[in-house]
Symmetry: C2
Subunit: 319 residues, 2 copies
């Protein structure tokens, strides 16, 4: 095997195993240790951040940087990667924000002139709009770390105007419409609740808290277990039925909570039907009103009454 090829192979090998000894590689490549030493030095000069420690249990290590072996990307793929990163630029808070940007810049800089031109041409021609919120989300990384690591956090959560301390074990985080949410097991409620991340006033690990539960099987992909839009509520349920016009169906498709309730007819109209918590009546009343003549509440009577009451109140303001 030629030296050039060996160097490229070596590059990949040292990245695969982050820690290794010279002898190990020498055996693997069927060359002498001396050669491997020389090769490693050369790799270092080429930019691979190697670090070595002498002594027993010593050896070589690749530092936090990793060299990607040369990958054949099509031009389209390179552009796609660039725009995937570009798509997230409206997020003011993002776990990986920094890294995403620096990776994007590296990519851009390594690309040849004509691909750059294409990207420049395109980057003002395609966009993914997300509402820019004033809310602050300082704990996203921490929440994500706690979710992957199955750890318990003590948070100070502001709910309905009052702040409360709670122990939670995050399931994950998700962004929706410019806001970040965190489904988590709440030790206070003894169930999974969805928290709005901008209402988390503080968060941190707390040794004195309850022991972590095994929630590895619960993740964002199986959130049937989550409760409704607010994460609040009690156990008293009631059946709801709301008729929807064409536009009402479209509006509901944009709502996360609606998918289990939404039924669509062939002509584009549809209806919402299902059990809801009584404490959510106010929410649904407002939602139905927001759809104007595209939604008509049929059940339950309490919801009809709430809608009528709200409408009357609104009308009164304009008298």
């Amino acid at each position: 095997m030629s030296k050039s090829k060996r160097l490229l192979d070596l590059m990949m090998t040292v990245n695969r195993k982050r820690k290794f000894t010279v002898k190990e590689l020498a055996d693997e490549f069927n060359v002498s240790s001396r050669t491997i030493l020389r090769d490693l030095q050369e790799l270092g000069e080429l930019g691979v951040p190697l670090y070595s420690e002498v002594g027993p249990h010593g050896g070589y290590q690749v530092l936090n940087e990793r060299i990607l072996p040369p990958i054949a990307f099509t031009e389209e793929e390179a552009v796609a990667i660039f725009f995937a990163s570009h798509a997230l630029r409206h997020y003011k808070y993002l776990p990986f924000k920094q890294e995403s940007l620096s990776a994007q810049h590296k990519f851009y800089n390594y690309m040849s002139g004509d691909v750059r031109d294409r990207i420049d041409e395109m980057k003002n021609r395609i966009d993914f709009l997300t509402p820019v919120r004033q809310a602050e989300f300082p704990y996203l990384s921490l929440l994500l770390e706690a979710a992957t690591g199955q750890k318990v956090l003590l948070i100070h959560y502001e709910s309905k105007g009052q702040g409360k301390e709670r122990w939670i074990q995050p399931v994950g985080i998700y962004a929706h419409n410019g806001l970040w949410y965190c489904p988590a097991y709440c030790f206070l409620r003894g169930d999974i609740r969805v928290f709005r991340c901008d209402r988390i006033r503080s968060a941190g690990y707390d040794e004195s808290g309850p022991a972590a539960r095994d929630l590895r099987h619960v993740h964002l992909g199986n959130k049937e277990g989550y409760s409704s839009h607010t994460g609040q509520g009690d156990e008293s349920l009631v059946r709801m039925w709301v008729e929807l016009g064409h536009g009402g169906v479209q509006a509901c498709e944009a709502e996360l909570w609606s998918s289990p309730l939404l039924h669509i007819r062939a002509d584009g109209t549809g209806w919402l039907e299902g059990e809801i918590q009584k404490s959510d009546l106010g929410f649904f009343a407002r939602f139905a009103i927001g759809l104007c003549d595209e939604a008509t509440v049929q059940e339950p009577p309490e919801l009809v009454a709430e809608v009528k009451r709200t409408l009357t109140g609104m009308l009164a303001r304009y008298k």
Copy 2:
């Protein structure tokens, strides 16, 4: 310069200039043509897709694939790139959909085991939710291509129940809340309008259409020139003033059209103020009603009347 280094350099060089001759490179690297020929063959064996043509104006070319030179990515950066691509997975329609996925897979495959583990751990713990719409967006790539290339398209557009043929020159495309929009110069209206891409029933280049205008300076970054939410409307303007509660401000922040109109007070409340088209009164009435007690229309009188009329109508349905 050692051969190994030259090969790496060569890799980058042939990617920079997609087309080149052997002599060119020989001069650039100060080696003989014979050596370059040998090097190029070796590069070919290493995976660089080279193609050559003999004769005058012949030369070497790199085929559509490009090799990225080895880039040092930190682990965090690699993860960030992965999740940028991951973030777009809820988009059923996406220009670059295929490429984004294949690039993501390549990335994933080249990463070492422990980074993969980290990604696997995380990918069900972070998400970017976008409403999944039933609407179809088959012309995104075409629209984008027309926007970057300053070309005129003939589209069949469904607006208010009726279909019309129009010549448009796209400015760009953007996704918002699960739907794709396309601001474009409309030759029918003689102005820039926003089209909903799922209502474009057909699109294609048309030689018989009007000549393209020079709209290179108009792009998504300077869309002040765009008209309101619907892209429809006439020239008669009227001043609007809507008082907003705390929640009303938050709701407005999520709307694209509101930013030039929205004013926020220190206490979190605010108001909408500005000139609007009379034809949009119905839209704003519905919007204000959707905010329930979080919005109170002050001006213009027509809007107040429209709100009252709509509210009365809604209330009537529940009598």
